[in-house]
Assembly symmetry: C2
Homo-oligomer: 239 residues x 2
Amino acid sequence: MTVYLVGAGPGDPDLLTVRAARILSSADIVVFDRLAEPVLSLAPPGARLIDVGKQRGDSWTQASITALLVDLGRDGLDVVRLKGGDPYVFGRGGEEAEALIAAGVDVEVVPGISSALSAPAAAGIPVTHRGLSDMVTVVTGHRQPGDETDWDTLARLGGTVVVLMGVGDRAAIARRLIRGGRHGATPFAAIHAATTIDQTVTRGRLDELGDTPIEAPATLIIGPVASLNLASLRSVVAS
Amino acid sequence: MTVYLVGAGPGDPDLLTVRAARILSSADIVVFDRLAEPVLSLAPPGARLIDVGKQRGDSWTQASITALLVDLGRDGLDVVRLKGGDPYVFGRGGEEAEALIAAGVDVEVVPGISSALSAPAAAGIPVTHRGLSDMVTVVTGHRQPGDETDWDTLARLGGTVVVLMGVGDRAAIARRLIRGGRHGATPFAAIHAATTIDQTVTRGRLDELGDTPIEAPATLIIGPVASLNLASLRSVVAS
């Protein structure tokens, strides 16, 4: 009985790790989020798939997902908890691991390609590049009470800023970064459905970000590297 | 004729992406760095392996590596340029891609699991965790002229700080972060040879970092999450 916290990567099943693909291909039960949907094709035909994403109108909370994992793990089943990107990077995998360990359930983490770094690559953007940026900060744009990002300081720090779950608040994010000192002409890029055939890339200036239509969810990249358009990934599957 | 810029991940060959493993397993020529050595076992027996790492006493520079890739690509060969971690995250892959594109050589980027995020996971440390950190900044400790990290502002920003190539300058890094406002009791963790059987994890307080022996290269994690020791990855291969 092991619960595997598995990173599904950005979307393309070819971008799972070898280990993740192997574990997923022999799973009995897969508990998945919306962002992990594109790789479900790797699960065996008989696997039980449990959708804990929020877009179904269901009432899954983090607490109820964690409780489900503990119950399944205690039943002695091998469970794959499949998360978009990497389970330990804004994936709340740490909370699930804590609860499972406390309940005496074996847990193994299988890392994934984080969207924070691979969505830019899918648009031909390295997050660091000589002469443009030697630093990258990843933040979430999804505000939680008491967890307010210090955008002023982040603006002063410079480098590349990657914002996950930031489409809804993009106007406020842009305004705060400019108020903190980032130039309005700083390039941004927004990547939706990265590494899938539905991928779209939107580019512009930071002072236009708030007025630019962007389909959510998307990864936002803000900084000089966002103007690059170098070799990118192949995009081969439907999201 | 394609030059594939392939991320080798943190060390364990099982942590390559499915696509990277497939491309590497049919490579004619592999141009590799030291950090990519643990996964060379995936290259076919007849492949030509070119070591451009610096530990051999050779005189490879970034310029000569890039020139080699352009020459090989122009010869019409399929070349794998294998880099530890991810080619677009502190990997100088962007520079190589730029030069290859300018020379008319086809380039494809195959992302890898970045050590910046997976070395912490290999020590049971999620880089973000509710109540501890909702932000991660990745910097290099290897100073380049004119590219000085603003450690004061980074200290004020808070969150999780991941330092790559920072073992040699760890005393100065710790001093600057403390001077900038990080508490001396802030936990750190240093992971050497992550995800291999040679992995070592060193933990302590930020004000002890300078005096703590750490084998290079290592990934440094500084911040409250560094005290966590949750479910981690399996480590299965020699580095």
